[in-house]
C-alpha cells in the first residue's frame, strides 16, 4: 500500500511533530508498505490569511496514493477517499485558547467569524475521515467538547525502543528533555540544596533560548553544589541521550500540566527507571504512581528533595519502582507495529 503522511510545515522550523512524521514513515515502511511525507507550508500570522491557506490544502489533488494519514491543522483538510486522522492538535487558538483569550484571532465579529470557519472545516474533515485518533486524552476531550466528536486515543510509541534496554543503576538522577520554565529544571536544582549528600543530578537537553540556559547555570552556581549537579545543555545525539537514561538511578520530569505521557517518562519507564514527578504535571501522572513506579510530590523544593534523597537511601526500593514502571509501560501495549496497524485499518 502507498501511504502518504500529510503534515504541516512551519518553514525552517523542526520539532516534535516533524520527528513523529518521520518515525511514522519509517515504521509504515517497516510494516511492508511504501510511505512518504507531504509537508504543507502553514503560517498562522497574520490570522486573516488562515482561511486562504485552508483553501490551499483543500484544493490540492492527490494521485498515486492509497491511504492518507494526516496529523495537524490545516494539513488534515486535504481530500482523499481513504483518510485517517492522527490528530496531534487542532488549531487551539480557535478552541480552548480562544476561550481563555490566548488567541491570535482578532476580537469581535471578525474573530468569531474566523473561529467559525475553522470549526466548520474541522467538523467536515472529522466526518469525512475513515478513522480519527488523537495523540492524547486531553486532545480527545477537546474534540468531544468543541466538535461533539468521539475519537479514539492512540498514544505515540517510543522511537528506537532497543536503545533503552540493558542499562545499569548509576549514581545520578537524570532530568532530560527541553530546558525551559514550563519544564522547571530550576526547581530540581533548588531541591538539591535540601537533598542528602550522596544525591547527584544530571540535567541534559536543548535550552529553548540562551536565557533559559543562563538562568539554570546561575541557579547551579548560587546553590554551590560543586560536582553534585552536572549540566549538559545542548541538543543531544539520540545515542547520548539514551546512554544518560540507561545509566541513571532514577529519572525526574516535572513539566507543568503536560497533555501527554511525555517521551521522557515513556523512555525512562521502558528503561526500567524509577520516576519522579509533581502532582500538577498532568499527563505524566499516567505513568508515575506514588510508591509504585516512583514518587509524586508537591511542586516544592523540600518535598522534591525528600524524593530525590530516597532514591539513594533505599536503592532496592528504587530498583523495584523502576521494574514496576517498565511493567506498567509494557502493559499499555504502545508500540509501532500495533500503532501502524490501527492507523491503516
Amino acid at each position: 500500500m502507498k501511504v502518504l503522511i500529510v503534515n504541516n510545515m512551519a518553514p525552517f522550523v523542526w520539532g516534535g511533530a516533524e520527528e513523529l512524521a518521520v518515525n511514522l514513515e519509517k515504521n509504515i515502511i517497516a510494516a511492508g508498505h511504501q510511505a512518504e511525507v507531504l509537508r504543507l507550508p502553514f503560517q498562522w500570522e497574520p490570522a486573516a490569511r488562515i482561511p486562504s491557506q485552508m483553501l490551499m490544502v483543500r484544493a490540492m489533488e492527490l494521485i498515486n496514493v492509497d491511504h492518507v494519514v494526516a496529523l495537524k491543522f490545516p494539513a488534515y483538510l486535504i481530500r482523499h477517499p481513504k483518510k485517517t486522522l492522527w490528530l496531534l492538535h487542532q488549531y487551539r487558538q480557535a478552541y480552548d485558547l480562544f476561550d481563555s483569550a490566548h488567541t491570535n484571532l482578532p476580537f469581535g465579529a471578525e474573530g468569531e467569524q474566523l473561529r467559525n470557519v475553522i470549526r466548520n472545516a474541522d467538523n467536515e474533515s472529522l466526518r469525512e475521515s475513515r478513522h480519527v485518533f488523537t495523540n492524547s486524552e486531553v486532545t480527545r476531550q477537546r474534540l468531544v467538547k468543541y466538535n461533539g466528536f468521539d475519537a479514539e486515543v492512540l498514544l505515540p510509541p517510543v522511537n528506537d525502543p532497543a536503545l533503552f534496554a540493558g542499562g545499569q543503576m548509576g549514581d545520578y538522577i537524570f532530568a532530560g528533555g527541553r530546558i525551559n520554565n514550563m519544564k522547571r529544571q530550576a526547581l530540581l536544582v533548588e531541591a538539591m540544596r535540601h537533598a542528602g549528600p550522596n544525591t547527584r543530578l544530571l540535567i541534559a537537553g536543548p535550552p529553548d533560548s540562551p536565557g533559559d540556559a543562563a538562568e539554570l547555570q546561575a541557579a547551579v552556581e548560587r546553590a554551590d553544589l560543586g560536582d553534585r549537579v552536572r549540566l549538559d545543555l545542548r541538543f543531544l545525539p539520540r545515542e547520548t541521550y539514551a546512554e544518560y537514561v540507561r545509566g541513571a538511578a532514577a529519572v525526574a520530569y516535572l513539566p507543568f500540566d503536560e497533555d501527554s505521557l511525555g517521551y521522557v517518562t515513556m523512555e525512562a519507564a521502558l528503561a526500567g527507571k524509577a520516576l519522579i514527578t509533581t502532582s500538577d504535571s498532568g499527563g505524566i501522572l499516567g505513568l508515575v504512581k506514588q510508591h509504585e513506579t516512583g514518587w509524586v510530590v508537591e511542586p516544592d523544593a523540600k518535598a522534591l528533595a525528600d524524593a530525590m534523597s530516597a532514591v539513594f537511601a533505599q536503592p532496592r526500593k528504587t530498583a523495584d519502582y523502576g521494574q514496576a514502571a517498565r511493567a506498567l509501560w509494557l502493559h499499555l501495549g504502545i508500540n509501532w507495529p500495533a500503532t501502524v496497524e490501527r492507523l491503516l485499518r
Binding site: 502507498k2 518553514p11 511504501q34 512518504e36 507531504l38 490551499m56 484544493a59
Partner: protein
C-alpha cells in the same frame, strides 16, 4: 541564507526532477545555508489544473529569504525574491499541444484553458527576479511561447568526482531506464550490422515488463546473446561508476530529449566518448560529432558504422573521451557555477 526549494511531484515516483532539487539542497547545506524543501502534489489533468494553481498562489513562504522553483506549476508561488530554475512547461498545452501526446480534443474549452494557462504563466514568470532553465531547448520554448528571456544553467550530477576512467574495454554501455523512447532497441539492431566484435551493455529499470521483454526477444532473434549484457534493474551507483570506468564509450539515444540527460554527463565525467543521434534533442548541446563522440542518423546502419569506428579507431575514441571531460568545463557544468548563479 534561508532558502526554500519548491517543486511539484507525484507521490512515490522518483527520478530526475527530484534529483535536481535534492542534490541542490545538499550542496546549499554544505555551504551553510538553511534549506527547506517543499514538494507539492500536482495532477496535470486539464479540469483540475486551475484549482491547484490557485492553491500555489496562496502559499506563504515569507519566512524564506529567497525561493527557487523548479517543476511546473511551482513557479506560481509568490515571493519577493523568486528565482526560477524552470525545467519544463505543462507541455501538453505548449509544444506537445499539436502532438499525439495531447490526450484531449482541440476544442474551444481546451483552447480556452490553454490561453488562460499561458496568461497565468506569463504573470508568474515575470514576477521572478531571474529565470534559469536546464537547456537551450527549454529556453527557446520560454522565448517562443511566453516571450521571456532566460539563462541556461546546466544541472550537474551529484558527487561527480566519483566518476573516473580506468581503461577501455570492448563494451559500449547504455545506463538509462529501459523505455521505448530511450531506444535501446536501435542500439541492438545496429549491433547486428557491425563488422567488429564490439559489445553492448544495457542497464536500467523499466515502468513495465513489456519493453524489456521485447529487447530480450530482439537479442535472441538477432543471435546477439554473446555480445549483449542486459540488466533490467536499477543498478547501484557503485556499479554504474565501475561500468563507466571500464567501458570503451557510452551510448545515449533518446528521442527528442529536453535536456542533455544525466547519462551523457556521467559518461563525460568518466572521460568516455558518447554515441548519440541527430534527433536526440538536448543531448546535442553537449555532444558534437567527431569531437567528444559521434552523432549518427537514428538508423541501425548509421549507428553500426559509428559503433565499428569507436571500436576500430581506438586512439580517436580515447581522445574524444578526454575531450568529453573538457567539454563539461566549457559548458560550466559544475555545482560551484550553479550556486554562484542561483545565489547572485
Amino acid at each position: 541564507m534561508k532558502i526554500a526549494l519548491c517543486s511539484t511531484f507525484v507521490p512515490f515516483l522518483f527520478g530526475g526532477a527530484r534529483n535536481i532539487v535534492d542534490w541542490l539542497q545538499t550542496m546549499l547545506e554544505q555551504e551553510g545555508h538553511h534549506v527547506e524543501r517543499i514538494y507539492l502534489p500536482e495532477n496535470d489533468s486539464p479540469d483540475l489544473l486551475f484549482q491547484q494553481m490557485a492553491a500555489f498562489r496562496w502559499i506563504d513562504l515569507s519566512a524564506a529569504d529567497r525561493v527557487i522553483c523548479f517543476r511546473p506549476q511551482s513557479h506560481l508561488i509568490q515571493h519577493p525574491h523568486k528565482i526560477l530554475w524552470f525545467i519544463h512547461h505543462v507541455r501538453v498545452f505548449y509544444d506537445l499541444y499539436d502532438s499525439p501526446y495531447r490526450g484531449f480534443p482541440d476544442d474551444a474549452k481546451h483552447r480556452g484553458i490553454r490561453d488562460a494557462l499561458v496568461a497565468a504563466d506569463n504573470v508568474a514568470l515575470r514576477e521572478a527576479k531571474h529565470v534559469f532553465t536546464n537547456s537551450r531547448v527549454v529556453s527557446a520554448r520560454l522565448s517562443k511561447y511566453n516571450q521571456v528571456d532566460s539563462e541556461v544553467l546546466y544541472p550537474p550530477v551529484f558527487q561527480a568526482e566519483r566518476f573516473h576512467c580506468r581503461g577501455h574495454s570492448d563494451e559500449i554501455v547504455y545506463v538509462c531506464r529501459l523505455e521505448h523512447h530511450k531506444r535501446q532497441h536501435l542500439l541492438i539492431e545496429a549491433l547486428a550490422l557491425t563488422t567488429t566484435p564490439v559489445r553492448v551493455r544495457l542497464c536500467g529499470s523499466s515502468a513495465g515488463p513489456h519493453y524489456p521483454n521485447e529487447l530480450n526477444e530482439l537479442i535472441t532473434r538477432l543471435k546477439l546473446q554473446q555480445r549483449v549484457s542486459m540488466e533490467n534493474r536499477w543498478v547501484t551507483e557503485e556499479e554504474k561508476v565501475d561500468y563507466l570506468a571500464d567501458c570503451l564509450a557510452a551510448a545515449y539515444l533518446p528521442l527528442d530529449e529536453d535536456s542533455y540527460g544525466y547519462p551523457s554527463v556521467e559518461a563525460s565525467h568518466a572521460s568516455k566518448a558518447i554515441l548519440t543521434t541527430t534527433d536526440s534533442g538536448g543531448v546535442l548541446e553537449l555532444v558534437s560529432d567527431g569531437i567528444n563522440g559521434y552523432v549518427a542518423d537514428p538508423t541501425p546502419a548509421a549507428l553500426a558504422a559509428a559503433l565499428d569506428k569507436l571500436y576500430r579507431e581506438r586512439a580517436t575514441t580515447i581522445a574524444m573521451g578526454a575531450r568529453a571531460r573538457a567539454r563539461l568545463d566549457e559548458l560550466n557544468i559544475s555545482w560551484s557555477h550553479v550556486l554562484e548563479r542561483l545565489l547572485a
